[in-house]
Point group: C2
Chain length 448, copies 2
């Protein structure tokens, strides 16, 4: 064991020096580093130095693909599919108010494209899809492999929590990246995301890469680089992929908070137009149809999606799916039975003008303190807590106009201060930011 440890360390230290010196790392070298760490043969401090060096010096496409393969390791792929159809997945880099999965997945499924998605939890100001879904009474997100397959076959969609076995190398590494400031490295992010899609044997992938103040990649150039890298990386593993660069300079839609976001997603599926959510949800669904069937035109896809909303089919798909995953009849019969927070307080404009900023991080912090998220791991969530926004960038307001309603338990009044501080009101008109900035697909890029 000690000899194996020494050999692992020596290889890792050489790899750090080579990477810092500007060399490209060999595929076998990357594989060995990840295998050694996953098997516990490398101490955390040495792996931290390797990750920090890679985050600093970067990796090219070939190295990133090797890292992706290394993350998966020798775990057999776990395909979830319906014979004769391409099962697609959708991934967002995360943002405040991002409930797009809950809109796009039922839309795609209602149009006949099976959607299998493994979602994550979150710590901090941006909520995870799993936390949102847990506000639905009875809904189970810890499905067995057999249940995943059953739900997909019956309803055309399935959403479940992540399991550590899927990409063990990524799982081991992610924990350390989180505490060493090596999360925002483009090749490390790309390999982490794509490795899980490859392990799940996704047959199509749509990536929603956020940019702007509330995004992991706030810089649009970095966001575009990440999007392009992930599309090419997925293609190398045989997964047709498309990516969107979308705006996260303000929260997506009006609702922020678990049950509030479920309610908003259901309203969009019933035909309500919600700024950001409706447009992005339909675009993601269109791209999901197109990665499953590349010859499908934009017009045909949009027609199918429009019909799925107008006919109520998408809304029914959501409820059927929720029911298949254990949602209580109370919710399925009457989604309005979702939990509500004990108190509601309004934040109003303190002057007249145009809304110049709705800082997503401040709104996220406000929702967090209202009870919608976790300040520390394992703390409990108030599923009804959150924020309903009434104004977006560019909205004309008068002094006293409602800006946001904070749904909270009353235990931490700073949620109101954070919500108020998120808004900036300008004396001159402010243009609304463009929601969709770019769309990438393998080897070419479309402007929206």
């Amino acid at each position: 064991m000690e000899q194996a440890l020494a050999a692992a360390s020596e290889g890792l230290l050489q790899s750090i020096e080579r990477k810092r010196g500007g060399s490209k790392l060999a595929d076998a070298e990357i594989e060995q580093v990840i295998a050694d760490f996953t098997a516990g043969r490398t101490p955390d401090y040495q792996m931290a130095a390797w990750l920090a060096t890679v985050a600093c010096a970067g990796m090219d496409m070939r190295e990133t693909a090797a890292l992706t393969r290394a993350y998966i390791g020798t775990t057999p792929a776990c395909p979830i599919r319906i014979p004769g159809r391409r099962t697609v997945d959708k991934h967002s880099t995360g943002g405040v108010g991002d409930k797009i999965t809950l809109v796009a997945a039922p839309l795609a499924a209602a149009c006949g494209v099976p959607v299998a998605k493994m979602s994550g939890r979150s710590l901090g100001w941006a909520g995870g899809t799993i936390d949102k879904l847990e506000s639905i009474p009875g809904l189970r997100l810890d499905l067995s492999a057999r249940e995943v397959q059953q739900v997909l076959s019956c309803t055309g969609m399935v959403i479940t929590g992540q399991t550590a076995e899927l990409a063990p190398g990524d799982n081991a590494t992610y924990r350390l990246r989180d505490v060493t400031a090596t999360v925002d490295s483009i090749p490390l992010i790309a390999a982490s995301i794509v490795s899980k899609k490859v392990a799940l044997a996704a047959e199509g992938l749509v990536l929603d890469v956020k940019t702007g103040a509330g995004a992991l990649m706030s810089d649009p150039v970095a966001a575009a680089e990440l999007a392009e890298l992930m599309v090419e990386l997925a293609a190398q593993f045989g997964i047709p992929a498309r990516a969107i660069i979308s705006d996260m300079s303000q929260p997506l839609g009006f609702a922020v908070g678990n049950a509030l976001e479920i309610r908003e997603a259901l309203e969009v599926l019933q035909g309500r137009e919600v700024p950001g959510v409706s447009e992005l949800g339909r675009l993601v669904a269109r791209l999901m149809l197109q990665v499953a069937e590349p010859s499908l035109s934009d017009e045909s896809a949009d027609k199918c999606i429009g019909a799925a909303i107008d006919s109520g089919e998408a809304y029914r798909t959501f409820l059927t799916w929720a029911s298949a995953q254990g949602a209580s009849p109370c919710f399925v019969d009457n989604p309005d039975c979702l939990p509500r927070a004990a108190r509601r307080d309004m934040v109003r404009a303190d002057r007249s003008g145009w809304v110049a900023a709705v800082d997503p991080r401040a709104i996220g912090q406000a929702a967090l303190r209202a009870g919608a998220g976790r300040l520390v791991q394992n703390s409990s969530i108030d599923p009804g807590a959150g924020i309903i926004l009434f104004a977006r960038i560019g909205t004309r307001v008068d002094s006293g106009t409602p800006l946001a309603e904070v749904h909270h338990s009353g235990s931490d009044s700073r949620c109101l201060e954070f919500a108020a501080a998120a808004f900036d009101i300008s004396p001159a008109p402010v243009p609304a930011p463009a929601l969709i900035q770019r769309i990438f697909s393998s080897n070419h890029e479309d402007q929206p």
Copy 2:
């Protein structure tokens, strides 16, 4: 305590992100990172990520000076001096056969310039001065502060082992750098070396930066960068400094191994001309005189040094100093009583030609396996073990000519293989490499 830990982590993580993003770190930020780690408020894996990021992204002069100050922290300076005279120090980045301290220190002391030096041990193929001196029977290297001052006052020179209290930040960090492949970063090396000189309140400093295959900085451009940085850094802390870039493409002199090197240094002090050792020893001594007295001309300095050898004063200074530090009368009366290894075996040329390479790392490995160094920490050393070289780069040899004599215990015959493998013999003549490549002093550089 947990809050202090969390605050330390947050600051450190921001610092990693800032450095990776191309920002300069503020003085207070660097101070906090080092203070937090030294006080145990930062886990090893986070500090490893910080060090790896700094090693990768670099630091400018101002940041390196802040790191140097941070390494010293709040420890009061520990001045060792003789009133009215400047006490100088000498530092080498280390190499195989490097016994220059043992030549230059008695030369400078014999010329009236007090020399106070704190030396390190070594692990691996390049021996440390402390290990070499320990082969002298009775010599003590664990002097108290009072003894250090006494020995210096009485003999004009003192050499002692390093204490952890001197630059606690450097001490804590060095341990981690050693196991995270972050040793060969120019700003990290410079801050580590200069912090200890500042903590000791050195009043003059000569740096011998090695370059070539056997050096930490094998690349001459990197070696020059390190030399220039350390000279400027020392000047910022009020220490006049000069630096030499010297060749380490082959071992220095003929002797490699602890007692063998002591014996060679004594021979040089008695006037024997040993290639590399005589020239570099006299040059380092000259620069030591000149940092103590900047107006001293090269000619005057060299005259004094020549006289110190010819009169036997430098040799006597070494023996008086050794005696003051506890060397047994047996050694002082007859230095030839130094320990000898049990066996001697000759390595001979297997063909005729010119010596094209004497790989210092291979010779270091041979000496290590002969018993002269430690393969693992705390293992014991055979003080008599090592290698005596008979050929240097450019030497004409015939098949069967002795190349090196290996002094060993007979327990590990690979020492002979390593010694033989160090030599490369070319059919065509090979020029000898230049020993002294460049000399730097504050704000200007002289060509030798």
